[in-house]
């Protein structure tokens, strides 16, 4: 059966979404983790709400990075364990399309969900409502970029027994610019100044990784699958 590129993309995305929604617990765990981590900061630091507001962009972004990392481990893992990934690699369809589809579906259930939850967390951390739009926009760009960086890391560590820590070690240094500009954009939005510069930088990073990371992630998978 001959399947076009777009059709293959749509099929894989549908399959991934189906699989995710059949395991709602796994879907919710990173989100709950995100909520718990952001709760830990005010509890541990015992802060005034005004002080908390100064720290909130950093807290929010660190929690978002960590919870995205948590879900990245599952990107290729279960498919690699039961051999589906090898079959996908052998099916004659370009592996890059499959990687793009899987990563995109993964972002939909992890990154996009996180963006939708972020106003709740933002309110708890004392971020003013006016800054929500910038916060959500920066988180959208940031989680998308992180999913791509994570696809490279997940591809490199998929064959390893204890790849989880190593995955963080690989992805976090690459994600540090994201944290700087993402938290910077949110911070500026809170203080009421223009966050356009930081958002543009985030968008540039996003486009850069979206175009190049699929090929790097595919090569990574080829190396570990061989």
């Amino acid at each position: 059966m001959n399947v076009g590129l777009l059709e293959a993309f749509a099929l894989i995305v549908r399959r991934e979404l189906c699989l995710s929604f059949r395991r709602p617990d796994q879907l919710l765990q990173p989100l709950v983790f995100f909520l718990i981590v952001t709760t830990l900061f005010p509890l541990g630091l015992n802060l005034q709400l005004s002080l908390l507001r100064d720290m909130s962009p950093g807290v929010l972004w660190v929690a978002a990075l960590l919870s995205s990392l948590l879900s990245l481990d599952s990107l290729f893992k279960s498919d690699a364990d039961d051999g589906t990934l090898e079959q996908l690699a052998l099916c004659g369809q370009d592996l890059t399309v499959i990687v793009v589809a899987k990563t995109f579906a993964h972002w939909l259930v992890s990154g996009a969900a996180l963006v939708l939850v972020s106003p709740v967390v933002g309110t708890a951390l004392g971020i003013p409502t006016e800054a929500f739009l910038t916060m959500m926009l920066s988180l959208t760009l940031g989680t998308l970029t992180l999913s791509w960086l994570g696809a490279i890391g997940a591809g490199l560590t998929v064959g390893l027994k204890r790849g989880n820590v190593l995955l963080s070690l690989i992805v976090l240094p690459l994600a540090m610019p994201l944290l700087i500009f993402g938290a910077g954009a949110t911070d500026r939005a809170i203080s009421g100044t223009s966050s356009a510069g930081a958002l543009y930088f985030l968008a540039a990073l996003c486009v850069f990784t979206c175009t190049l990371a699929p090929f790097a992630a595919t090569t990574a998978l080829r190396i570990t699958l061989e």
């Binding site: 490279i152 490199l156 390893l160 190593l166 070690l169 240094p173 690459l174 990574a220 190396i223 570990t224």
Partner: protein, 250 residues
């Protein structure tokens, strides 16, 4: 033979482990000698002869270790990524050996640059560490080195580990221009480009020549250590082959 043919023969020769083993064994003492000469001159001229800075006083002498090690941390990373790219694209195993041999050296230079930088920062900026773009990106560089080294060791199959680490090294190369241009792009506590810039260096000759000499000495020292480590890498990787048994026996 055309130039093209000569180049390819040279390329193939460079890809053969026995040739690399022999060449690096022959090169190591020369590089080490050159490093001793250049660093000897640089240290004497920099620490004893060069005048103290009008602003920073004697503390400026930290520059003779700090700047070359910071430059080397980037150069070694670039070299490691280039060797990795050669190894991945043309499937040349020696490239992986070069990358594996240079990673710990590069990480050491990065640590040296961070430590000397913070020791220099204490009297000048009043703090050992500032979350400044250049300092942060240099720290990220160290994490990248650690990531590449641990990824290589994480695989049971060494050739797979080699290729995974090679890919990560290539991906991480995006950080190199960030470190290099961070002082230009962001208003940074760290001083701007002084030597490698358009126009004449912003530094008097009595300080510039010892510094350049130290840089040359660091480069040669890196070459020497790389040659020594490369011999070990190649011997270990080729331990099943007959030429290694003969080399070890003799």
């Amino acid at each position: 033979m055309t130039v093209r043919e000569i180049m390819w023969t040279w390329f193939y020769k460079l890809a053969s482990p026995p040739y690399v083993y022999g060449a690096s064994a022959a090169l190591a003492p020369w590089a080490l000698g050159g490093a001793a000469l250049a660093m000897g001159y640089g240290l004497i001229a920099g620490l004893a002869i060069a005048p103290p800075d009008y602003q920073q006083g004697e503390a400026v002498r930290m520059i003779y270790v700090h700047v070359p090690s910071a430059m080397l941390s980037l150069t070694v990373y670039t070299l490691m990524a280039a060797a990795s790219a050669v190894a991945l694209i043309w499937r040349i195993k020696v490239g992986h050996a070069v990358a594996a041999a240079s990673a710990p050296i590069g990480a050491s230079f990065t640590i040296l640059a961070l430590v000397t930088g913070s020791l220099w920062g204490r009297p000048m900026w009043g703090t050992y560490w500032a979350w400044d773009p250049r300092l942060t990106s240099e720290l990220i560089l160290l994490f990248l080195y650690v990531g590449v080294m641990s990824l290589r060791l994480a695989f049971e199959d060494p050739s797979r580990g080699d290729r995974a680490a090679a890919l990560l090294a290539i991906v991480g190369v995006v950080n190199v221009p960030i470190v290099h241009f961070s002082v230009v792009w962001w208003n940074s506590l760290h001083q701007g480009a002084t030597i490698v810039r358009l126009g004449a260096p912003k530094m008097p000759g009595s300080m510039l020549w010892p510094l350049l000499s130290m840089w040359l000495g660091f480069m040669l020292f890196f070459a020497a250590v790389l040659c020594i480590r490369l011999q070990g890498e190649v011997l270990n990787r080729e331990r099943q082959s007959t030429w290694v048994r003969e080399a070890v026996k003799s």
